[in-house]
């Protein structure tokens, strides 16, 4: 039957593949190639080997924005993973107690996920500035305001999403496990800590990696909240901002390649870890 199917390959594959090759595959290959060139446009470039990478990470004039942005992004990712997962898990625990009205709360908590990044950024800019003006300050006075503002914003947006994943996991914990722990004399905290949490570890992995990749790829919220500033730009915003302002695009493409390698490495690690868990289970 396979042989017969194969004759129809063009009909089934061509529509998607045509779009995919044009808008993704070719740009990906070209992007990689152009990172080894000096280029103004795709028709105007000279091959320069690793020079673009050198320029992008050149430390002669102080630390290049890329490294500071990378450091900031990593710190942001770490803070986000801790806060978002903690908040989401606590809410999920409370909403799986079988309380009446849990579904309404769940729907409310999830709602911010549907709001787009740019809009979110401006909503929180208005609110945070409103709070900060009590002390005659505003978001642009201190880069750390922008940083923690973004942490608050991302918590507001993402906690509901992660909570949904934790709720799904908690619903799958068999109730007799908790009951038998209780019979053995465990109190609520002990049951949660020794029985429930170990059972939902796979979802901790999923949520941590989701937050991690979300943090590294974060762009819209970042530029809307704190403008396009080297003081507050995360990695993605750093690359885009220099792309727009520079004539020679080689170094920016080089940064993008490094950015891609980082994101791909994180995803690779995630696949490895979740695969191993599946084998154990």
């Amino acid at each position: 039957m396979q042989r017969y199917y194969e004759k129809f390959a063009v009909i089934f594959l061509l529509p998607l593949l045509a779009c995919f090759v044009l808008a993704f595959a070719i740009p990906f290959v070209m992007g990689t190639f152009l990172s080894f060139t000096d280029y103004i446009s795709m028709k105007d470039f000279t091959f320069t080997g690793l020079k673009s990478y050198q320029t992008a990470f050149d430390t002669t004039y102080g630390t290049p924005t890329f490294w500071t942005a990378l450091g900031r992004t990593t710190l942001f990712a770490a803070v986000s993973i801790l806060t978002i997962n903690f908040n989401a898990f606590v809410l999920a625990l409370l909403l799986t107690k079988g309380l009446r009205g849990s579904n309404i709360y769940r729907s409310i908590f999830f709602m911010p996920n549907l709001i787009g990044g740019i809009v979110l950024g401006y909503i929180w800019k208005m609110i945070l500035n409103g709070i900060l003006q009590t002390w005659n300050s505003n978001l642009s006075m201190n880069p750390w305001y922008g940083f923690f503002g973004l942490v608050i914003l991302m918590n507001w947006q993402q906690v509901g999403y992660m909570m949904i994943i934790y709720i799904a996991a908690l619903m799958n914990v068999p109730t007799d496990l908790n009951e038998s722990a209780e019979i053995d004399g465990a109190n609520k905290w002990q049951t949660t800590w020794h029985v429930t949490i170990p059972m939902v570890i796979p979802s901790f992995t999923i949520c941590s990696f989701l937050t991690l990749t979300n943090s590294y790829k974060l762009y819209d919220q970042n530029i809307a909240l704190s403008g396009n500033s080297p003081e507050t730009n995360l990695l993605a915003a750093d690359i885009v901002s220099t792309t727009i302002s520079h004539g020679n695009l080689g170094p920016e493409q080089a940064k993008a390649v490094v950015f891609f390698v980082i994101v791909a490495a994180i995803s690779g690690l995630q696949v490895m870890l979740t695969r191993r868990k599946e084998v154990e289970a």
């Binding site: 529509p15 779009c19 995919f20 909403l95 507001w156 020794h194």
Partner: protein, 369 residues
């Protein structure tokens, strides 16, 4: 945690007998004993005096409780139903539930308030927003619907809305159609080249947009597909990764026999796919549709790069961002808030109607992706 070692020279039957002697009927004797177990487990030794037992109250509580549960396992009707709702437990629960409800309501307010503040501020002038962000508009700051009127004009909101709607709907339809076809074919035909294609599409999921954005933009310009009506071609490429992956996972669970039966009845693969397979894929299609609608509607960088910043030819997020940059660097926050309200209305309507599917879809997408 298992604590099997301690045993005592008495059993729960002895305790029950004592309760009966105290005048309780059969059911109440059990209920009282059950309550006493819980009291003992908390370390309260009062019930011990009644029974005349000696030892650590927590330990005895656990021991008796275990015996009761064992008995219940042998004879499920042993414990009367009201035991499970015993009074002391209920009282505890009401107190802790009130605390939980209070906490949840507080969080719900934290979620909802920002949206309400946006609504409030959309009726104020910029000074009012800056000075009294969290207050109701007053005579000085109230500007009526002026923000809406000028914002609508400056963003050409009706055009931006139409373009966003067109791009989201058309892109999603094409993504669903093409991805399901591709996923089905790649799952059913197992050769080296279908594997290469499958993994190439999966791979695109881990590539950040910034990596391909410049060359993609150039190609789009060269081919003349950098218009709002042709941008769905590009969205198909960037939506393919997740969609093909999720469809492929579902196709694997579709039994081959159905397709073979259709083939024997004279269907060619195209007919088989559209009349038999695609309808079976419907639940996955709903999920994938929701996931794609959510990111395409809110997408900013792709339309900004491809369509450019000119108002009237671009999507809502880009228009909002462009208006915010303003002419003299100062942001017109009142106008922004009005535009944000207009942007959120369709999202909230979408959520109110499709809530169940959205939450289910997002869960499936997160766990699989």
């Amino acid at each position: 945690m298992a604590n099997e070692t301690t045993s005592y020279p008495f059993h729960f039957q002895d305790a029950l007998a004592i309760n009966r002697n105290l005048g309780y009927d059969e059911e109440d004797a059990k209920t009282v004993l059950y309550d006493d177990c819980l009291t003992l487990k908390k370390g309260d030794r009062t019930p011990l005096e009644k029974y005349g037992f000696k030892g650590d109250p927590k330990d005895i509580g656990r021991y008796l409780y275990r015996e009761l549960k064992q008995k219940e396992a042998e004879d499920p009707s042993f414990l009367p139903p009201q035991v499970l709702k015993s009074a002391s437990k209920k009282r505890q629960r009401i107190v802790s539930n009130t605390v939980v409800y209070f906490f949840l309501t507080l969080i719900a307010l934290v979620v909802i308030l920002p949206v309400l503040i946006v609504l409030l501020n959309s009726f104020k002038n910029n000074g009012g927003i800056a000075r009294e962000t969290f207050l109701f508009p007053n005579a000085e700051s109230f500007v009526g619907i002026q923000n809406y009127v000028s914002g609508f004009e400056k963003t050409q909101f009706h055009k931006a809305f139409g373009i966003s709607l067109y791009i989201t709907v058309v892109s999603t339809v094409f993504i669903l159609l093409f991805s399901s076809m591709t996923a089905w074919f790649l799952t059913r035909v197992k050769t080296w080249w279908t594997k290469v294609i499958y993994y190439a599409i999966l791979f695109s999921q881990v590539v950040p947009f910034q990596m391909v954005m410049l060359p993609m933009n150039q190609i789009a310009a060269d081919l003349g597909i950098n218009h709002w009506y042709s941008i769905p071609i590009i969205y198909v490429a960037f939506g393919a990764g997740l969609s093909v992956f999720m469809y492929a996972g579902f196709v694997k669970s579709v039994p081959l026999e159905i397709e073979e039966a259709a083939m024997i009845d004279g269907c060619n693969p195209v007919q088989t796919f559209f009349t038999i397979v695609f309808p079976i894929l419907k639940p996955t299609t709903v999920t994938i549709a929701i996931l794609n609608v959510m990111w395409i509607w809110n997408d900013y960088l792709l339309p900004y790069m491809v369509l450019g910043p000119s108002i009237g030819e671009t999507t809502i997020p880009v228009a909002v961002q462009m208006v915010s940059l303003g002419s003299y660097g100062a942001q017109d926050m009142g106008l922004m808030m009005a535009m944000i309200v207009l942007t959120m209305i369709p999202i909230i309507i979408f959520y109110l109607f499709g809530q169940k599917y959205i939450i289910r879809g997002v869960t499936a997408g997160a766990v699989k992706g």
